[in-house]
């Protein structure tokens, strides 16, 4: 069973209000959102283990601040998908515009197409798997979490990066300040295998290279870690 919500007919506030009302519960029903027509802020701020499928393409900030929910977009998304996600899963069947997963603290963001610039900017623990390629300045100031790219990465990957881990299968146009290639150790291959499996991606972990911080630009002290 699924509840179908017509966004064009019934409006955005009604949708988010109904989804917020599920907070603290364990819903049995899935939700299906039809006629999104590029609207902004669809299914933001959810806090329940509910499945939401959006049938069509969305505008800004779809799935932002998500906790626990599984949100799938059967289309493409505008800027800031899953921005500041805390937990749960957001899956985009198409492409994502700029700053996908920005500032995310946790959860998994899967983009089956390409993501444009600033993917994973300031990521703080989120896992992002992009089946295609990503644009410039991705993972800028990335603090924690994993960014997996099955295609290519654009200019200045990982500029001013802290402790986020970056895995790229294709080419990297250029690395940003203080971002270097690092040794792929067995624990990284295991981590990558798990992420690829969760993201329904059949790429092989051995095909990737790992990038991360040279730790020269920021003052790395283990005592500062949480």
């Amino acid at each position: 069973m699924a509840t179908t919500y017509d966004l064009e007919r019934d409006g955005l506030r009604g949708l988010n209000r109904a989804l917020h009302a599920l907070a603290g519960s364990t819903p049995n029903e899935a939700w299906e959102v039809v006629n999104p027509r590029g609207s902004h802020a669809i299914a933001v701020g959810l806090d329940a283990p509910v499945d939401v499928t959006v049938r069509g393409s969305t505008g800004y900030y779809c799935g932002g601040m998500n906790k626990q929910a599984t949100i799938r977009v059967a289309g493409s998304v505008g800027p800031g998908v899953a921005e500041n996600m805390m937990s749960g899963t957001v899956i985009v069947d198409g492409d994502a515009s700029q700053y996908a997963g920005a500032s995310g603290h946790g959860g998994l963001l899967v983009i089956k197409g390409n993501a444009s610039s600033r993917c994973g900017i300031s990521m703080k623990g989120i896992d992002i798997v992009v089946h295609g390629s990503i644009g410039h300045m991705s993972a800028f100031m990335g603090q924690a979490g994993n960014l997996v790219v099955c295609g290519d990465a654009g200019e200045a990957l990982g500029d001013s990066i802290y402790e986020a881990r970056l895995f790229v299968r294709g080419s990297v146009k250029s690395l940003g300040a203080d971002c270097i290639e690092k040794e792929m150790r067995p624990e990284h291959l295991d981590l990558l295998a798990g992420l690829l499996e969760r993201a329904e991606c059949d790429a092989k972990p051995e095909e990737f290279r790992r990038y991360g911080s040279a730790r020269k630009l920021y003052n790395f002290k283990i005592d500062n870690a949480y």
Binding site: S97, G135, H136
Partner: protein, 297 residues
Amino acid sequence: MCGIVGLFLKDPALEARIGAMLSDMLVTMSDRGPDSAGIAIYRAPGDGAKLTVQSDDPDTVFPALVEMLEPVTGADVAIARNDTHAVLHLPAQKIDTARQVMAASGLNLRVMSTGQAMEIYKEVGRPRSVADRFDLPAMSGTHGIGHTRMATESAVTTEGAHPFSTGSDQCLVHNGSLSNHNALRRKLRREGIRIESENDTEVGAAYLTWRMAQGASLGEALESALSDLDGFYTFVVGTRDGFGVLRDPIACKPAVMAETDGYVAFGSEYRALVNLPGIDTAHVWEPEPATVYFWNR
């Protein structure tokens, strides 16, 4: 912020609907630019050239204008008024004379555009009211661009609204802000390019006019803009037979494009494109930073 839209038709069967399609796109972008709106549209050429003018006092100014221009140009001047705007039809070789006479007349009047096909309509106000006052949905044409403005770099006035035109049948809309426009304006004025306002976008338009006057194609002019313009920009540009898109290398300003057998469309957001025919099966993509896109008829 600002919203920009553009439509370049490949299928002549859509030409009768272009005003309606562009107006719908423009109104959808109201949230991005509620203070002014405008479009440039390439309509059927009339007799001679078109000179589109605007006045805050059209009842007095437009009749006086025709009376003034006919003797000095020695030609019949036809006028088609549309609210605060009017399209004057006169021989192409008389356009410069007409502009000089108008500038010296002291009439409350400004030139929106010149050309064979292009007309510009722009005013302060919500995009819906601007579209309605000029009855934009009823217009037909081959291609057009539009803009909804949230002003940052200059005052909220008709002159500050987009599109800008700095050359015959050339127009440009812009989302962003240019940072080297003062120096470039001085340079282009020295080169003899006409720039009417203190607006940054007009300098971007004038730059492309200057490059094309030197023999560059639209594509080449956009390519050189990448090294000579500093700032944030997503541009959509029209020429008599062309349509171009350019984003700066940082590409903060949003852009979505769609292409079918019938048209090429541009919107600041996908929302602007959702009512276009065949959008569900169109090729939809985000234009790459620092990459020139252009189409020719």
